[in-house]
Symmetry: C2
Subunit: 204 residues, 2 copies
DNA sequence: CAAGATACCAAGCAAGCGCTTGGTTTGTAA
DNA sequence: TTACAAACCAAGCGCTTGCTTGGTATCTTG
């Protein structure tokens, strides 16, 4: 199942919004604004202007500004969990599964959903406690995919450090690429993936 | 030269504020508030209350709220650059220099200056363009310490990936520890440093 | 002790914020 | 064509924000 098919399935199941719909377009613009200016600095007037409506009309689609932030985060996690799962299942060896996870997370962070992923990393504290808990529950599912693969590699001795610690170090390392990686800088995503594998000293 | 001596030298040179002074106390409280609530959600009334004065009185010490954020960042970088330099110079082998850098950065991120370091990572966008440029210039000095050590290790073949890439991956990995590492969780800083070295597959 | 600088308070202004309200347009389906 | 709901607008309310102002204590120094 390729990435486009996965996206369409999730849209059909109402797990993520259709990017063509009013709601989907708003979430896309919101992700961009939240990443560029931060959640607090982005006003409901900014959000409304980005999709060409009045600020008050936003509240016909979402109950509050925070609701928009939450929707951006939830939909992004849902989509990426599905993409990750497919990436793991498509790979054969455990080394290749790790490589596939790294590649997939880099694609999430640096590609289409990059704006939303950055929001997920940097705007965490802007969510209320209740909403944080909801998002956290979804993230745990996502994380388990990583831990399964890393634990197997640790048992086999391919990686020397603790699987939990490696995952957490990787989380930081990979999401931080948002701040410095530029696709036009002479290193494509495959090379970057290789560099990460080399840094971990995992051969293939 | 130990850490306390370094701090005192910097205070004497007016590079960082004395934590006992009014200015120093405010910056300490500001770092905590900015980390906990984010810069935008922290009001000048919050900042003033934290040191027991009226909100208007803040502007006797700082020209603007942003000035406070900038001061937190600048002083933190200055202090940590000095600490890093001392850590590198105290180590003998290149592997030990890397270990010393990792340990020192973890101490910065997780110890006394942790709040301010978190602000440096997460509140970057809240600075105006001009202030960002100033902070960036200071950060470049800091980064060069890392790159020198990593480049030597790359030439020797101890690390297999590109030195620039490794440093950037490490930046993310180490600063991300703010979000998950708890000193009471059964792993002390020495063990965490070891885990990072093991993840990089650099032996000692 | 005098006098200037430093540190602070009490009050409030102008602007911007999230969100509400009452009413109008647009789409849909019988 | 009619009836109803969904989508939107125009206006603005109540509140909070960063910062200013004019004045008063407190400290420092000759």
């Amino acid at each position: 199942m390729n990435q486009d098919t996965i996206l369409k399935t999730l849209i059909a199941d109402n797990v993520v919004s259709d990017p063509a719909s009013a709601r989907g377009r708003l979430l896309k613009e919101a992700a961009k604004l939240f990443r560029d200016k931060g959640y607090e600095r982005t006003t409901v007037r900014d959000l409304a202007a980005a999709v060409g409506i009045q600020s008050g009309s936003l509240f016909h689609h979402f109950r509050s500004k925070e609701d928009i932030l939450k929707a951006v985060m939830v939909e992004t996690i849902q989509l990426n969990t599905a993409l990750m799962r497919a990436a793991v299942e498509a790979a054969d060896s455990h080394e290749d599964k790790l490589r596939a996870l790294i590649r997939a997370e880099l694609e999430s962070v640096l590609g289409q959903t990059g704006e939303a992923m950055a929001v997920l990393v940097f705007e965490w504290r802007s969510l209320s406690d209740g909403a944080q808990a909801e998002v956290l529950a979804l993230r745990d599912i996502y994380e388990q995919l990583w831990l399964d693969v890393l634990a197997t590699l640790a048992e086999a001795g391919t990686i020397k450090a603790d699987a939990f610690v490696v995952r957490r170090l990787l989380t930081g390392a990979l999401s931080w690429t948002i701040t410095w990686y530029r696709p036009d800088g002479g290193m494509d995503l495959a090379e970057l993936t290789d560099q990460v594998m080399l840094t971990l000293a995992v051969s293939h």
